[in-house]
Structure formats: structure tokens, C-alpha cells
Assembly symmetry: D2
Homo-oligomer: 413 residues x 4
């Protein structure tokens, strides 16, 4: 019995995943505070995940995974996890969303890409592979793939905000590919951690999400075989079809912020319930409004996820249209979540009072963690305004933020 | 293919109903302005509805109706109608929601109530019966059912805000029943329009919803046969089970406010789209935020409706629990809708500019209509805060606002 | 003892004006509902204003007026008036703000303009002259001043939203002046009501402010003597100095919306206070938040007014800088007022309940009246975003919306 | 030239203080990040403050201080300081507000209290005395003053959140005084740091305001001479007169949150201004709205401060009335500031993008610091709702939160 409010998985595989995750939550909750304080990645938790198959939760059953394919269910899982610790959920999200995009490559990619995907997916299912993604260039850097003297490829640059990096065995790296022609391309090479020239920087000091292992990774002339490069076409080609993949990669993260807000609200209500019926007027209004906001947050997220699930395998429709129809509700939901989750957390702090301002209080951690939502791509608030108003007004524009960034880095360099 | 966002019916009966309603919308839209200005009820439109079976849309097929049973679908229909004219949707809602509660009486009521229900439902299906509800007492009045000398029942009092009254053939009237005992009861007698002593007052001058035929009805010692009285038990009995019926009666109205907000947004975006790509920054931000708000509004409404649909026939579970589980998400959604729908309408006016401030402009009507949402029962904002915070804090209280009102009228008189 | 919260005048002249206005408020309040309903301008009230000198409140004492020069005090007076009836305040504002700009012409204008100003100001002081302003062209029209065969000037076009028009004896009309050259100019001819070709259109049907006598005025080849034309320079000259006059003309209107919000809040609190200490949680929170919003609204308005008062006679400073320094806080305050006043009014309706939705209820009128604030120039929300962000980012742009509109009308025609 | 917007001091003494503070800001800004990270109190900065007389800024000139008496000016000073580092401003606030209340004791107190006050004020002026306040009991503790065997007084208990504690030479401690009678009293003993049994706990780990030296202080049977005890009357005496002192002690803190919001906005606008005119729509709207919010925040704060300044020496009016008239606008402003300052900070982070999420970024610190505002007494949001709605509805209640807390601690123990 599903009520579209992000509480119950809708597939048997999803149920199994959520059951497995639930087994970990009390342990995760117990060490969340210390890991946050020290910025320590919970290596043992992920070892545990690997053992029970959770590192392969979104890998197809044929390749040894749990076979969770519904974005809705993955988001429910991340919500459950985030209620215990948002950093852990953020790191696991990296692995889960990568499995989704690799499954697409496996089924629909060219033979080389398909083979690459299968190899990785099998390793993710067993827990051997933890696959990170380098999306955002470090300030001032353009991570670039160029030909070397022998005709092979070399990657140089630096990526920032790479989550799950402490245990990452492989790294997909979004790069600009220059091959002599006028128009550079977008490409995503895969590097294993032991690649020569690849260095995971140890230190990161974030405002929140401090146990997510979100690090910088350097690439110093790293060799990459041709077969390990996913091609993403020329820069500036304006294909809205790519919005589908971008939605699939990121939309389940909304579950994390739903979990953060829920955790904050639950702490506050439990605190207030102790006072009995003499709860003050301001608190009663805040509880009612917080619960209404949480519901709007959860249902908008749930609907955007179900919409993406419905369109996910509609490969026969116009792919640009499919991309826009996946991205638009995602962005509506994201704008709602970023607004409401922070509001719920900060109001929960008010309900609990001054003790919530101690650095070690769970609400203080949630307050720092929740703010990450606004920086999650796609899109930032400003880019979201441009995309959504462009859609409403039917403006002709490049909706691929990766491509737009690449173009911008071109004109600036 | 449903995406839980209040756009597409989920049952074949719902689809048929929406198709039928859609056939009326251009005509309704054409006369909306004049009806609003003059406070005229669209009698011809409802004659048309009757002809094609829409006055029996929620009547079971066995009794000659269209057989729409899903609350979700009924709300989608009301949304479609409200985009053309909210007053018309509000009036039709009266008939639709009454069919739902009568269907319950028909299936589960005592023999007399079941027979009464069947008779009315069959007449609604053919369009002969338009059944109004008198819920709210006029200020200072307590509408009361008392024994007359001959042992029969007499109804006296005055109800206010009775929608669809101009064409009402029957009136269910919420009343206090005094029968000599200490504790009065709640009862709902049915009166046909030609009952001696029943007068529909002709004039109402509302801020908005002016074509909804929302009138006062007087009852001056009206005779009521015992068989035409639905019993609602003693005042103050604290049965949360009644929350189910209250949810079913009112939740589909949320579709009306979703329709109002959507209509306002569409007018604004069409207006701005004419300007081409040089839309100003403030307008672009407003469009993006309005669309995000509309999505949150629609998805919260949709989820609350689907939740009520799921619980609707769960008669084997604890009925108090069922009542609360239907009412709570309804109230979360209602609080969200009342907040966001007004915001979307007023921002749409800003996008269009000064012409939207002319009384005859559709946005000026929507601005007046949308404000009705806050007065829809259950609950007002303040009562919603009490109910929802009571639920969150697990406080023991009477959640039946009809009973609470009756108790209050007792102590005040 | 002043506390900068828009409650007490700061000059003796301001006090006298507010005392005089206060003498009218109970009469104004008594007829507000009927005038609103029927769209009737309160001619007798304005006759009364004239008798006691209020039509010359802002006329210098040397010319027979009350000599109120402080914008702050004028806004306090409009607030007091608006608490009784916002339409009346809006109409009086037209006369008051015109006296301010004419006083500037009298003191600093060229001899012809100075003489024209003196003549009018003396007539305003006695109450003979009621001076309207035609600012906004009717849709599709560009009101234009052209040379006739004999070398004189002719005005043709149509202005919309001209307040106080029913009793207007003179009309200043913002027009485009074409004189054969490439660049047209901006000019403001003065026409007396009996000018040949000038027609005040009788009917206007606004959403709110219905008793403000806000009408269309037609100009059909009206002759205008050269001496009755105020020159405003060539279109597109980008002089921020004009922002001072635009601020002075409009900023006191913020007092009207402060009065509307205050009136709504007072009705609601009086209603709730009757219930004694058992006021529900939602109501208590709403009262506290409404009062906080009212305070922010009043203090932002007060500060912007005091700022404008301080800069008003600083003619030795850079005049462009003076213009920007008057306009910027005005716009900050305006954005705040438009947001908060509507919020206070709509929350007040919720506190009172369903009776506030009757068309004749004062809150229903306030709900319609308050929405006018967003359409008051300068600026609309979108233009305000452009101006304020341009100032913050130090962008080079034309901040004169009258000029920008003229340029736009040029390129479109 | 003052415009009531919290930017310019209004007294010469205030100007001098702000000039002196401004001399420190670049140094303070330079070390703010490190002090925040390590939770280190800036001892050298306060040594510098002492040297130039700033530790006696609010001490009367007759006693050797700078003689700043205007609350408005003190808040302007704290705003300037908070733009560099909010923690430093919070700590200095302790000293400044204590000088204000001691000056009252000096002028109006009984001889013993007056002498005590004079002694401390002279030492504050020279910088020898740094006077802390212990207001809030540690959880579960009631700090209590009792008679010892010899008829003297002993203080035992624990205070939490005592700012400026690392350099505190004296501590005023709000305590319950039990003297055998039925009704305990409220009293505020003064203890010097070297008092036997007084221990300043070294560690505090706050979410923000980490360099403010906000520590716990233990009192283990500390001896206190009778002459060093300020008497505050019996618990539960409902004297609204005390609201004046509570306002004076806390209202200038609003300047700190104004400074935090301003600093955040300035960082964001400087960041965006680099991009030139191609700033995106979402950013332009956010800048305009942030500036409008900052203005409302500053002007509401300024008006509440000016109001308190005006009433400050009105000792001949009804003192309960004076107390309420100081507290009410303070609470209106506080509710506004807590709401808007957080909004401005979080929107500023969005404008800057992901780099603002690094722990060391100034915006990340401001995001943590700004949240302290909601916990500042008087009042919390919920207590503010109770107080303000009580005032609006003229309810009879105890408005002294210190007394209410004491009563509550009585009934709970």
C-alpha cells in the first residue's frame, strides 16, 4: 500500500534494500557525531554495506546485484539512511547512481562501453568496486583529456567535491577532450585508483556532510586507454536528451534532504512531547506548519521520482522531450526541497532551544548538512530559475549545464 | 501513465467524467465573468451537466451513475472545471461529495438510511436531484431538531453558505437533536425543497465564488419524517472514525484551488511569453518559483487524495485510526494549498501588471476566488494547528469539529 | 516624542493636518462600504477637505496652504485616512504629491513654470483647484504633444488610472513631445477640465480602490499654450536626478498600505479579544507575527520617508546621487510593504473566519484594496528587481522608467 | 545626518566609539577564521579594547568611561564589529550592556548597590574589570543562594552560556535566594573570579559564535558578602517594570545580527559584481530581495532602539507601562531580525556557490553564527508569541521570563 509520500518502497527489490539499510541505521547513528566532528569517512560501514550487497543495490540481478531499478525506492533508501546520517547517504548515493548510468551503458551503449559497464557493475555487486565521480573542476582548472605522443590519451586537472573518495576504487572524470579539431568534446574517462598520476587529496573541511569523504582528486598526466572513455559528444550540441541521464544521476539525492528534515522534526517533536499538553502556542503552530512542509517536500519529491521512473524506459519517445520531462519536475521538486528542508530544520532547532546550538547536538549537524542541498547539481537556484523559466516561456537555450560550463571555460581561457 | 500530479484521472470512469467536463469548459469560461459580476448561478450549465450524467458522476453505476469512486479523479475533474470557473466547480463539488457519502449509507447504513440513500442516488444519476448541504449555522443560530406534539420531528434554524442552493432539490441539514435527554445528539435530516417552512434566501454577496449559488436557507418549524434523518450519535462522543467521512466530503475541494492557481499561472505565462526572450529577471524568478509552488501544491494534494482512496474501503482496520490517517495528510495538504495557491495568484497578477487590477480581469476574479480556500472546513488554519499539533504530540482531544461546535453552542446558549 | 514608526507627525504643520484629517475619519468610515460597492467617489468628503484647507495641506504657507513639507508627516496623514478608507487616501495623495512637485517648480523652476506653479498652488490652497495627473497611457496609445498649423501645441491620446478625476479641475499629462527633430522629448502639459477635446470617462470598475475616482481621460487634439507645458528634456537622457522627483511624488503612498494593514489587523485582534484568554494557538502565533510584520512594514516605510526628507533640500550635492539615494531606500521599503501588507490582511481574514469573506465586510474590501500596492509606480516588482540589483552591482542603465517606457513605445510604433 | 537605518551613530560619544572600533576591524577580520575554527577567544583584541577605553565605552564619563548612553549607538558599534567577527561583538556586548545596568544602579540604586556599581564601573573604564553575566542555569540545575551557618550567603550551582568568560574578572549570577520563607526571591550576587569555589570550565563547542568565550561556570558553595548582592524581589511578583532592564540588557544584540547579515550580503554582491552585467535572473532577484530584507531588518532594529532610548530616562511615567513599551517593539524587531537575517545569509551562500560550503569560508561561519539569534533571551520564538499575543489581546500574565523560569524550577523540583 503506497501513498506516494516517500515512506515505503514500491518494488520487492526496494523493500529488500531498505530492510538491509535499516539493519545498519542504529550503528550509523551511534557514530555519526564523532565522524562529523572529525571529518572521518565511515569505512567500516561501507565494508558492511559491501558484505550484504548494498554496494550493488542498483546493479541488475543478472550481474549479481540486488536489482533495485526504481528511483523512488533508491530515494526511500537514502532517506532512511539520511535520518541516521546524511553524510553516509550522500556517499552511498554516488555508488547507487553510478550503477544506474552504467546499467544504461551496459544495455544500450556501444560494445566497448557496454563491456566496460558490465565489468564494473559485476565488481560493484560483489563490493570490490566503489566508483566515484569527478564532476566539478577545482577553481581555475579545466580538467582535460589530450593525445600523447603515442596516440593514447592523457588526463590532467583537478576535481573537487568527489564524495566517497576515501574508498573509491575507480573514478569517472568529466573532462574536456581536445583532439586537434576546432570544437572540443565532452568525455568521461574511467581511471582506477592506482593509475599513475592520480592522487586523492586527504583533507577536506566542509561546513557539513563532513563524513561523506568529499575530497579533491588530482590528475597529473594520467594515461587512459581509449576503451575506458565514455564519449559525450561535442561541446555546445544542445541535446536535451542528456537531461534524462542528469536527472537519473541526481534526483535520488532529494531523499537525503527529506531524511534530514524528517530527522530534525522528529527530534523536536519528541523533545516537546515530554512537556505534555501544556505546549506553547508558538510550538504548536510550528509543529503543524513543519509537518505540512515536510509533507509537501516528500510528496513533491515522490512525484518527481515516480515521473522519472515512468519515463526511464521510454526510449521510443522523442529523447529530447523525454529529457525535459524528466528534468522539469525534478527541478520543481528540488526548488521546493531546498526551501522547505532548511525551514523545517531551523524551526526544529527553535523548538528544542539553546541546547540545539551545541556543536555536538544532532540538530546542529543537521543544520550544517541540510545547507548542502542548495549546491547540488543540477541545478543551483540561479540555474534552476533560468532552466524552469526557459521551459515555461519555451525559450531556445542550451539546457546542458555541463556543456554550458565547458563553453564558458573555453571563452575564459 | 500517472505521475501523481493531479493532471490525469486514474480510472476509466474518471477519464470519462473529465472528458465530459472538458466539453463544457469553453462555455463556462465564456460566461464566468458575467456570472461573477452579477452573482448569477449558471443554471443552464448544470442543466447540461444533468443531461450528460455529470450530476451523477459519483453515483455507483449500479444505480445509474457514472461510477467514479476515486477521490483523486473527482479532484482532477474539479481542477479542470475550476480552471474555467471556480464557482461552478464549488457548486458541483456539493453534488459529487454528497454522492460519496450517500453511497456509503447505501452500502453500510441501516435499512432506512440505505433506502433513503438509494432513492436519492438514483435521482442524482438522472439529474432530477440536486442535493445541497447545510453545514454552518447562521451567526447566533443553533439549527435544532425537536419533537412536535404528535411525536414527529420539526427543524428550525438557519444555515449559511449553502452552495448550489438555487437549483437544490434536497437539503441535508446538520442539526442538533434534542429529545428530552441530557445529552443532545447530532443528526442530519433531509428536506426536500418544497418542505413547508423551508425558504432559500435569494441574496448573497460574497467576495468571491460569486456564481456558486452560496445562499442562506431558513427552516421555520419544518416537519421531517423519522426515516429521513441520518443519526450521528450523541454530542461529544469523540469518535475519530468520523474524520473519514469529513475527509471524503471535503478533500476533493483541494482540486478547485489547484485549478485556480493553475489558471492564474497560465494567464501570466502566456502574457509574458509574448515579450519573447527579453523577459526581465524578476519575472523569470517568479515564473520558476510559481511553477515549483504549483508542483508542490499539486503533488501534496494528489498524495493526500491517493491516501484517502487507499483507506476508503479499509473497513476492517481500526476505524478511529482510519479516520485520523485520512484526515492528517488532508490537513497537511490543505495548509500547503491555502498558502501556495494565494501566492501563485498574487504573483501572477504582478507578472501581468496593472490591467490585472481591473474588476473584470480573470486574475482579479481568481484573486477573490482563491481566498475562499482558507474558510473551507475542515479545518480553518487555527483549527488545523490544533488538530495537527495534537496528532504529532499524541494529545487526547475531540477531533470532530462538528461536535466541538455543538458543545460550544451548548455552553454559550 | 517620535519613534520613527509612522504613528506621530514630526512637524507642527503635520500635526495640524493629522488633526484635521482625524475629524473626518468617522464619517469616511461610515460611507466607505457603500462607496466601495457602488464605485462612488466621495465628493462631499473632498468638499469638506477643501473647506478646512486640506486640499492645500502641502501648499506652502506663503501661498495660503497648511505648509506641511515633511514627506513623513504626509504619509502619517495618509495612513490615518487609509485606516478609514484607502480609496479616499489614494485620491487625496494625488493632490498632496502634486503640491510638492509644484512647490519645487515655484521655487526652482524657470519663470514661466514658477508662475504656473504659483497660480495653481494658490488655487489648491483655497480648495478651488483639484489637480490630477495622467501618467499611464491607455493600452496601445502613446499620448503625444505635437505642433499645430499655427505653431501652437496639441495633445492627443488617452490616459488610464487617473485618480481623483471626478472632481479634477486640472490635469497634468505626461506626454511625448514631437517637434520635428530626431529625438522626441518628454513634456508635461497642464490642461484645465474645460479644455476643448478633454473628456473624463465616467466608468471604471476596479478590483479595489473603487471609491478613488480612478478614471480614463481622453485627449482629442486639445490645444495647450506653450506656457502651460513643463519640459522634461529629451527621451533617453539617463538623468538619475529625476529619481528624486519620482520618489517625492510616490513615496507617501506607502502610508496608505500601512494604514490598510493596520486596519485589517485591528479588526482581527478586536474580534479575537472577545474570546478571552482561550485564544487558540494558531491565532496567537498569527497575531504575534502580524504585529512583527506591521512593525517592519511601518519602520521601513518611516525610514525611507525620513531619508527622503533629509535629502529633499540637498540641492548642492550631486543631483544624480541625490536621486539614487532617495529612490533606493524607497524601493527597499516598497518591496517590503507590498509583501507584508498583503500577508497581514490575509492573515487577519483567517483570524476572523468566514464572515470576512462576505463582500461587504471591511476585511474583504481591504483584501481588494491592498493588492493595488503592487501596481503603484515606481516600480513594479520586476522593475524594482532591475533597479535595485543594478544599484547593488553598479550597473550602468537608464533608471528613469518614464523615459524607458517612452523609448519602448518609440521602438514598438 | 541620520536616516534611522543603523548605519551612523547619533551622539558624539557614539561616533568616537565607532571610530575606535573601526580601528580594530581589519585585525579582527584577519583572525576570525582561525579563532572560529579553534574556538579561541581573542584575548589580545580585548586587551586592545581595554587600552583605548572600549571596555568602558558605556561607562559614564564622570566615572572615566567614554560615556556612550544611546542604545542605538551601541548597536551601531556592535554591527560594525559583527561585520568583522560576530563572536567578538557578542563578547563585547556583555561588557557594554552590563555598564548600562550598573549605571542605573549607580544613579538610582540603594547606597550599597550604588557603591558596588561605582566601583565596578570605574574598573571597567580603565579596562581592569571584564564583567560577565551568568543567566541560564545548566540543565537540571537551579543555582541558589542560601544562608550559611554564620549568617552569610553561599552560592551553589552552574551557569551555562556565559560569554566573555575567558577574561571575565567578575561574574553577576542570577540566582534563586532561599531565606527560610515560603516565597523565594530573585537575587544577583557578584563574584570575583578568584572567589573560592568558582570554576570557569574551559571547554565549549558551539555550532557558531565559537570565539565568543561562551563557557560554563561552576559555583561550589561560594561565599558572597551581603553587600555584593543585587536584590530582585520575590519570585512571581509580576512587575512589568523589569521589562525595561531586560530590554536594555539585550536589545543592542540585534546590531550583531544586522552585522552578520550585512557581511554575508556584501560578500555575495562583491562576488557577483565580478561577473559584469551578465548576472543571471535568479541572482538579480535575490540581490534585490536581500537588500529589501536587510533594510527592513535594519530599520525595525533602529526604530526599536530609538524607542528604547526615548523611554530610557522616563522614570516619571508608569514604570510597568514603560517596561512594556520598551519590550514590545524590541520583540517585534527581534522576530523580524531572526527571520530575515538567516534568510539573507543563506541566500548569500546561494549567490556565491559551492565554495561557500567550505568550513573556512566566511559565509559558512556567518551561517553558523546567525543561528544564535533565535536563542537570545528575551525571548525565544515561542515565548515571544506568548508575550506579543498577550499584549495585543491585553491578557493578564507574568511577562518576566526570569520569574516564570524560577517558578517553573520550583514546581519541578
Amino acid at each position: 500500500m503506497s501513498t506516494s509520500d516517500l515512506r515505503t518502497p514500491i518494488s520487492p527489490e526496494g523493500e529488500m534494500m531498505v530492510d538491509l539499510l535499516t539493519g545498519f541505521t542504529s550503528g550509523i547513528r551511534a557514530e555519526a557525531r564523532a565522524n562529523d566532528q572529525n571529518g572521518v569517512f565511515p569505512v567500516d560501514t561501507f565494508r558492511g554495506f559491501a558484505k550484504v550487497g548494498l554496494m550493488g543495490a542498483a546493479v541488475p540481478a543478472e550481474l549479481g546485484g540486488l536489482g533495485v531499478t526504481r528511483l523512488y525506492d533508491l530515494a526511500v533508501g537514502l532517506r532512511v539512511l539520511a535520518e541516521a546520517d546524511a553524510s553516509t547517504a550522500l556517499a552511498l548515493h554516488v555508488q547507487l547512481s553510478r550503477a544506474l548510468t552504467l546499467t544504461y551503458e551496459w544495455r544500450h551503449g556501444a560494445p566497448a562501453a557496454s563491456a566496460l559497464a558490465e565489468r564494473l557493475l559485476r565488481a560493484m555487486a560483489t563490493g570490490e568496486a566503489a566508483v566515484c565521480t569527478g564532476l566539478k573542476d577545482a577553481p581555475g582548472v579545466v580538467t582535460t583529456l589530450t593525445r600523447d605522443a603515442s596516440g593514447g590519451w592523457r588526463l590532467s586537472g583537478r576535481k573537487t567535491l568527489v564524495s566517497m573518495a576515501p574508498i573509491g576504487t575507480h573514478f569517472f572524470v568529466h573532462a574536456l577532450r581536445r583532439d586537434g579539431g576546432d570544437v572540443p568534446g565532452l568525455a568521461v574517462p574511467l581511471l582506477s585508483r592506482d593509475t599513475r598520476g592520480l592522487t586523492v587529496q586527504p583533507d577536506w573541511d566542509g561546513l557539513g556532510m563532513r563524513a561523506s569523504g568529499t575530497l579533491d582528486v588530482d590528475f597529473d598526466n594520467c594515461p587512459v586507454p581509449e576503451t575506458d572513455i565514455l564519449d559525450r559528444g561535442p561541446v555546445g550540441s544542445r541535446r536535451d536528451a542528456v537531461l534524462a541521464g542528469q536527472t537519473i544521476s541526481s534526483i535520488t539525492m532529494l531523499g537525503i534532504y527529506a531524511g534530514i528534515a524528517q530527522a530534525a522534526r522528529d527530534i523536536a517533536v519528541q523533545h516537546c512531547a515530554k512537556r505534555g499538553p501544556d505546549v506553547s502556542s508558538g510550538v504548536r503552530s510550528t509543529i503543524a506548519e513543519s509537518d505540512a512542509r515536510l509533507y509537501a517536500l516528500r510528496t513533491a519529491t515522490a512525484a518527481a521520482l515516480l515521473n522519472a521512473d515512468l519515463l526511464n524506459d521510454k526510449y521510443t519517445m522523442d529523447l529530447d522531450e523525454r529529457g525535459r520531462r524528466m528534468m522539469t519536475p525534478f527541478q520543481w521538486a528540488k526548488m521546493t526541497v531546498n526551501d522547505l528542508a532548511l525551514r523545517v530544520v531551523t524551526d526544529s532547532m527553535s523548538m528544542v532551544g539553546g541546547q540545539a546550538y551545541s556543536a555536538g547536538h544532532p540538530l546542529a549537524r543537521l543544520y550544517r548538512d541540510v545547507r548542502a542541498g542548495g549546491f547540488m547539481q543540477p541545478y543551483s537556484y540561479a540555474d534552476g530559475v533560468d532552466y524552469l523559466s526557459g521551459q515555461a516561456l519555451r525559450l531556445d537555450r542550451d539546457n546542458d549545464y555541463m556543456s554550458v560550463r565547458a563553453v564558458r571555460s573555453q571563452t575564459q581561457s
